[in-house]
């Protein structure tokens, strides 16, 4: 197993904030994906995210969430077609989103409630809005819910390609790069 002991650049990097960072992060992820497996040295400023096919747009029905994992099998998430365009949404209707389902508070598994398109935590009652980029409606987590950045190719295949915040229970989002 590849270790994470190559981590450097632990100072100011992660306090970059806001839209500018999101753009930079997205660009880095794309570049790394194109470069293939992360053998490059020195290491990049962001972790090297894999690109994983999650499903095809034709597989999804509104409000019927699909369980997925990303960026590896130990990180559960959910792929949802919301039915109306949403923040971070992809696909022909701009309504397909994906989130980590480990609550960023204590790691309990979130469940989807279709009536108000929220993810809910049975551990300590936190709630996240799938239509608002995972904004915490109410709860104990000190992060809004990490959202998986998606891309849809010409065939309608949906790929997860990066994550916009730290997943519960790991100090680096990619454990096995």
């Amino acid at each position: 197993m590849r270790k994470c002991d190559k981590l450097v650049d632990v100072g100011r990097r992660h306090f970059l904030r806001g839209a500018a960072t999101a753009v930079a992060g997205g660009a880095a992820a794309t570049a790394m994906t194109a470069a293939g497996p992360a053998e490059a040295k020195p290491t990049f400023a962001r972790v090297n995210y894999p690109s994983h096919r999650l499903a095809n747009v034709s597989d999804l029905k509104v409000d019927q969430p699909l369980e997925i994992t990303y960026p590896d099998a130990d990180s559960p998430g959910v792929l949802i077609k919301l039915g109306s365009p949403a923040e971070g949404g992809v696909g022909p209707d701009g309504d397909i989103v994906a989130f980590s389902t480990l609550c960023p508070h204590k790691g309990f598994p979130l469940h989807y409630i279709a009536t108000d398109k929220s993810l809910n935590c049975p551990g300590h009652y936190s709630r996240f809005d799938c239509e608002k980029g995972g904004m915490e409606i109410w709860g104990q987590a000190t992060e809004n819910l990490p959202q998986f950045l998606l891309r849809v190719d010409g065939k309608g295949d949906i790929y997860a390609e990066a994550i916009d915040d730290l997943i519960y229970g790991r100090l680096t989002n990619v454990l096995k790069a």
């Binding site: 009652y125 680096t172 454990l175």
Partner: protein, 820 residues
Amino acid sequence: MAFKRNIDRLPIPPKDAKVQNVTCHFCIVGCGYKAYSWEVNRQGGPSAGSNAFGANLALQQDTETTNWFAPSMYNIVKQNGRDVHLVIKPDHECVVNSGLGSIRGARLGELSFSETTGSQAQRLTDPLVWRYGALYPTSWQDALDLVADVTRRVIEEQGEDGLIVSAFDHGGAGGGYENTWATGKLYFESMKIKNIRIHNRPAYNSEVHATRDMGVGELNNCYEDAELADTIFAVGTNALETQTNYFLNHWIPNLRGTSLRKKNAQLPGESHSAGRIVIVDPRRTVTVNACEIEAGKENVLHLAINSGTDLTLFNALVTYVSDQGWIDKEFIAASTSGLDAMLAANKTSLDDAAKITGLSADDIKKAASFIAEPKDGKRRRTMFAYEKGLIWGNDNYRTNGALVNLALATGNIGRPGGGCVRMGGHQEGYVRPDYPGGRPAPYVDQLLIGGKGGVHHIWDCDHYKTTLNALEFKTVYKKRTDMVKDAMSSVAYGDRNAQVEAIMGAIRKGGLFSVDVDIVPSKIGQAAHVILPAATAGEMNLTSMNGERRMRLTERYMDPPGQAMPDCLIVAGLAQALERSWRAAGKNDVADKFKGYDWKTEEDAFMDGYHANANGGKFVTYERLRAMGTNGFQEPAVDFRDGKIIGTKRLFANGTFNSKDGKATFMATQWRGLQAEGKQQEKDKFAFLINNGRANHVWQSAYLDQQNDFVMDRWPLPYIDMNPDDMNELSLQEGDLVEVYNDNGSTQAMVYPTPTARPKQTFMLFAFPTGPQGNVVSKGVNELILPNYKQTWANIRKIASAPEVTRHLTFKSQEYLPPT
């Protein structure tokens, strides 16, 4: 878009990271945390042998792991002048929170001051004085000498009543035993200052006078009692949001039934089942929802009472319980006095109570049964908990007494599974010489509005955000302090004598010289002439106790910003400056009163104060507290044995109370309607109840949260919960800005549609920096100058449709939904 930090990895604490004890700075619960720090150019590794957690971090960690921290728990700070990584993560070994971190405490890391990451750049780093039309940095000696000279001159002309003080009296950040002692020694021992108020109310008074007058100290049980009770009776407390981990870690296990083993082990010889709860609150809160989820609706009785009528409910309950014979006769005979007189005075029928409270007689009866109906012939154990809904509610003194009556009559104080306790706001940390003023204490904000006083010392208080009648206060305060600013600008700063003469000239005309000690620029600080930068918990060693009187030491894990100092050492500097000033004026007898402040560290202040003066203080030292870790001990200390401070689990466990004869006294508490002057007229005149309180994101943390991206993204403005029908009537959409206005003033909020809100009953965030609810609260107080923030009525009108800052927000229900 929702705020994201875009963090994809964090540094790993090495095996030899320094680990220190931390108690969360913010609320009364005082959750235990550990601060990990290590040199900035080092890091641990993922293998178990190379990190501080001893865990394989190349693997996904489990639910509730001890081996992870969130980005909000991390920062880079200075420690003895050197950059270090800092992680402040919840302590699983602490019995208060068992590893839980609230949405506030779990951000202690990123709420720390950092020159490297830029967090909390708002922190004050230097003493500032008014010169050339603005506030500019100066030295400690220059600032303190100016404060001392003006203070002396005002006292010479007006006596000590000319010095008005606003000062914290609590624990946690901006307080603690070190700092309350120092301010108390200065104002009550070296001087005899009567015109002093506390951070959140306009006079120097207890918020719970009645329970104390009855002989029952208000923090009398332990958190474990919430696990042992048959019933919890919760009044005006939204514990899930404002005592979060006390609720999650001690109330929920009882409601879930997972504390049954503990009940059977500790309380043999009686039947036990999962706990039930009665919640008295005009509003349906997330607390009510969580209780229903865990205990089942049949075990939760939410009494959505007419705002301000709690007293009548309690009188009816005590009458009914007594009529049923459900009182604890043995306890009453041995430990109380005045039952019969109380029952005669407070006699209230179920029907009369139903009429006033808006509840059904059946629900009141059901509450009585939950509280006191014997279980298999044994006394039912009920814990009574109350907070601001009662404390800042109608007829505070009598309502508090009425609730304690019920707890005493049912024998529920000093016993396992019992207690009659306030839930608390800040932690506590009070040790001071006696207050030299009388009772009722002076209504300080009215003195300031009335032009009284010449100099105002403010210690970590912000009237602009947390006072009643706030708009009038601000208007007058600005005018009076502007007079002094203009006078100061009229002469050269470097000519101290001319400065002081100019200041005194303005004061004689009604001006006010304002000195503000704080850790961040406050709203009232905008009016100040001198600002003094303080350190907060963790930047100094600091002791406090929580809501079960659990005392801990937060160790100093980082440097304060710039020249900032602990409040107690600022006090010492000010006392020494006053001594110099009085001596230079030839008043050696007065100067001598300011001796005894030769503290070099906060520990010196602790030894001079708590150790020498607190009940049991002689057993307590920093060294011993450090060894007691995040569990500390429960005050009062009674011994030091086998390397441990021995504390007290429950007060009054032997049935002896705080009175001359050792008996608790019942109190006559007749209903008298809306007690504070003008409240009934306000209710009659204005359409909406403006109930008010706190949000989970922001609670005892607003002063730092106002510069926290995560929080300000979610709550850029205070929200006001409104019933959708009321919104329709006013043509309002979610996120729209409204003005809340009445004859006291006006303020703003953003609309949060809330189907569970009763028509014409709104709920607005209290004391929020971008829209103080206090602007519309009248000056009406109770007979002991306790404010009545909760019973406020006003009208509402639209200011603007949702602006950009609210447009991206979610306005969905805050209530958790279980799987379908």
